[in-house]
Symmetry: C2
């Protein structure tokens, strides 16, 4: 491709609204342009990388026997009503009415459509297991689209769905997809972790997120410094054997704590440490009050509260609700003497406290010398807090560290959630009707592109892994007015293409500095510069990743390039 | 791919709602399933054919230096308002509101988005010419979706846009795209014509439709039986030198024609022929009355009326409007004595009539012995009728014939319609600002698939051209319970795949008749049957297209298949 008429508009300045590296570089290197908030066009060089990632995805999916299909983006509302997600999905679901005023969803995912499809055409165990996938634009009306294509409203996704006769079959397919995803992200040159995650609104159990480790990201990953344990902190279990302090229990006391509300203020006012305090937070779980206790230096994990209570909706109580159920204002809430209407849950760390402090359910008052085993009644203890850096790893090996992560893939065991709701059954070997056992698997293709840049760049620009690079070689003609340089560049352009290399020829009438800066910005693996030594048949080869430069004979170019590419 | 777990649900019965061959066969052979009216899923075998067509499209587009990009399907309403199409496109444009109540269109085409894109990033003549394209789902809320994917509401399209500094440049790019389209449809095995067409709502001049000749279709093509002239009958010019009858003019007469209204009734009642009658139809063109006269055996072409009057909207007048402007009811309308407010246009064929008949603008009365050159005043003569079978070809060579056509491609010269509306200008060599000169080019990818089937099938099923076939070979194991047959089939399956052939292995436990019928229905170019002679190493080869069958040694399979495929 000739750069002179190629739509790759590089920008010298950093766009002001882009605050992460991949977003800045995708704009500066002319990969994307914004069309509306969270809606982007991929320019040719961005599109080439998307196609390369898609090809890797297809190869690894096909290798597992998955079948590519193509479902429509506009989906009848009836299917979403049957599954119950028409309401549940909320305002992230883009909705559309056709000319007959019928409701449709713009698909954020395709569980309903694919289940209806297989329900109609797969009736017998003989056709199962089956794994179908597609690569397609998806829609999610994000409240705050940001980070460029990392969180956009229209994005490219590979979604796959498996159908089995049994949960054992599902386990196997889940393993196969887990393996395919591992290979895909490895081939994309990504440093990632498969982390245990919450299944959220998808309605399944057993789920892993494939997280690209990064300095930015919307998820925090807790991982062990000594094992391969990794989990989203939303879900990471805490596995600590707390020990009871060897101290005598003192009589319970009520003390004045005028206008002293936060954990920090209480600890300081009562001259004790935060880990001697009990934090009491009132939640409303499916319209019922639930008081949750954790140690003062810990944080309540509402995903765990949701699981322990088997609740659908978990919200922190308002001040008004706190008054109604507890009789005091937040800041002075505690578990002693609350009405039976309020369920009390406490984290394991609370159970072993001796002579601790908690709110007294009266404005400006706290209890001192609180001993849960003596003073609390009807409390259910469980793992309710968020894991912290420095905690022992739940698998017993090593210590927990945190990293930010970009979610590029997600594998779910759905079970029969959708097949039961939509009636997708099959006849088993004994002729009885059973719901299909399903799995769901997604890869954010456009997001993977951004994640690759997030991990592969320097101050000068992008550094593409050869596996997904938009071109193999950036061939630069320093002086297009110089006949010898131009002729050698043109001749190399033909030769390299003839050898199967994908080449971007910088044939622009620009200053050499502009060309070299653009080459670093675009980040193709190999740069070949045809300059002053063209008359001697000598060109310069630069490896973008290492910065290593060599002068080589132009007639050795192909060999040397192929050899270098094999290691990039 | 193993058919036992492949999602290719063949149907024995003809679906009742499918009334054309391609729609029936796409349902029966398991290529598509309907998800809502005009909204389809492509199952794996349909998706494979789409991908094959896409690959051909990409190769031919890339060969012309076109650059692939990917624009979003959701498009800001502001862009459509700037171009004036937000209103003009009417209810076929699917509209969507986001969570902030902002309006978006679901793109039926991308002139606005691509123009805005190039406006922002291409400022100089040095970057031009440029040709960008994408392959993407498009949306059109058809009033009557029908014929399966031939007229659906979500469909796959390749759309391309060219940008030039001059109209001469546009002409060159138009030629290049015309040539690419010709190659694409040839490679898809289609019998088609590039026909001159009306540019409709696209707002350009010079446009060709690529029409696949067919027995069904929504367009009628007029073509010459002796030259390559072909045009949509909407637009085909009539180039006939009418001769005046050698007859004496008689005095104008008014006769009673009680309740005699239609051309047929009048001709019969007055014992004359239809070609001696003048048909007078009142139209409302942009709110002004226009009376159009054609010969009784001809039809008014309203596209021509639109062009001749330079009108935006051309509608046949209602009975009420006819009364208001002419003073009589339709059936008795004529040009003699109409008020000056009514513009009168007549087709060339009317001008030469001698002693003809027309309505007398009075209920139950007609004029006889009408001689336009004597009796009419203020009439403008032009080409206003639709071409007919038997007319001489407008290029002077041969006679016009009609065929139905399926539009699979369309090339337009847009000129500066969009660049001026959206302000997409460039600096020319002299530093002055000029609007880019644009072209727009579309291929219906999913529609092309249906058109291929429409031209390549028989009573048994589809007959895929090898270039787009979902698999090269259908390998059938007649008795899967027979060890020798199964082993030979499995061994051939590996060998053929190893030789780069794409093979569908029928490993189902079905009766041989079912397998053979499905093979004919699916229509893969070559069928290899492993049956009773497996023990002798002999298999049967059948060419789907010709029906030709041979027994061959299994170890010669690869060679023979490759040789046959080269001719299919």
């Amino acid at each position: 491709m000739r750069q002179s008429t190629y739509l790759v508009p590089t920008l010298r300045d950093v766009p002001s609204d882009a605050d992460i590296a991949s977003h800045r570089l995708m704009l500066r290197a002319g990969l994307i342009r914004q069309s509306a908030a969270g809606v982007y066009s991929f320019l040719p060089i961005g599109t080439k990388v998307l196609r390369n990632i898609e090809a890797i995805v297809r190869e690894e999916m096909d290798a597992k026997g998955a079948q590519e299909l193509l479902m429509p983006a506009i989906q009848p509302a009836e299917l979403w009503q049957e599954s119950g997600r028409w309401e549940a999905y909320g305002s992230e679901l883009m909705r559309i009415k056709d000319r007959h005023n019928r409701d449709f969803a713009l698909g954020p995912t395709h569980e309903e459509v694919v289940t209806a499809l297989l329900k109609a055409d797969v009736k017998s165990y003989k056709k199962l297991p089956m794994n179908v996938y597609q690569i397609q634009a998806k829609y999610r009306d994000e409240r705050r689209p940001r980070f460029g294509v990392l969180r956009s409203r229209e994005f490219l996704m590979k979604d796959a769905y498996t159908f089995d006769t049994s949960f054992e079959g599902l386990d196997k397919q889940y393993e196969a997809m887990y393996d395919a995803y591992t290979k895909i992200f490895q081939r994309c040159g990504l440093d990632f972790r498969a982390v245990v995650a919450d299944s959220g609104a998808m309605g399944g159990k057993d789920t892993h997120e494939f997280m690209v480790l990064s300095d930015v990201g919307e998820d925090t990953i807790a991982y062990s410094d000594e094992s391969d344990f990794a989990a989203n902190i939303e879900i990471a279990p805490v596995n600590v054997q707390y020990e009871r302090a060897d101290e005598e229990q003192q009589p319970l006391q009520t003390v004045d704590t005028p206008n002293v509300k936060t954990i920090e203020e209480v600890a300081s006012y009562l001259q004790t440490s935060e880990d001697q305090l009990i934090k009491s937070l009132l939640f409303i779980v499916d319209e019922r009050p639930v008081l949750v206790l954790v140690r003062g230096d810990h944080e309540v994990n509402d995903v765990k509260v949701k699981h322990v209570t088997d609740g659908q909706s978990v919200e922190l109580a308002t001040e008004e609700e706190t008054k109604r159920y507890i009789g005091t204002t937040p800041g002075f809430v505690g578990p002693i003497g609350v009405s039976e209407e309020v369920k009390v849950l406490a984290d394991h760390a609370v159970e072993v406290l001796v002579n601790a402090v908690c709110g007294a359910n009266e404005t400006d008052k706290h209890h001192k010398n609180v001993n849960p085993e003596r003073d609390f009644s009807g409390v259910q203890y469980d793992d309710l807090r968020t894991i912290q850096e420095g905690d022992p790893s739940p698998d017993g090996k090593g210590t927990i560290q945190f990293r930010e992560g970009i979610e590029v893939g997600h594998v779910f065991k759905l079970g029969t959630r959708y097949s039961e709701a939509l009636g997708a059954t099959f006849l088993d070997e004994n002729g009885s009707d059973k719901p299909m056992v399903m799995g769901s698997y997604g890869i954010g293709v456009s997001r993977t592109l951004a994640a690759i840049i997030e991990q592969h760049h320097d101050d000068q620009g992008i550094i593409w892994p050869a596996s997904v690079a938009p071109f193999d070689v950036h061939l630069i003609c320093v002086q297009t007015k110089d006949d010898e340089q131009r002729q050698l560049a043109e001749s190399l352009y033909s030769q390299l293409q003839g050898a199967g290399l994908d080449v971007l020829l910088d044939d622009r009438k620009e200053r050499p500095g502009v060309k070299f800066n653009d080459a670093d910005l675009l980040g193709l693996p190999i740069r070949i510069t045809v300059g002053k030594k063209a008359s001697e048949g000598i060109v310069e080869l630069k490896v973008r990743k290492s910065g290593e430069m060599d002068e080589i004979a132009s007639d050795e170019c192909i060999e040397v390039i192929q050899e270098r590419l094999a290691h990039l």
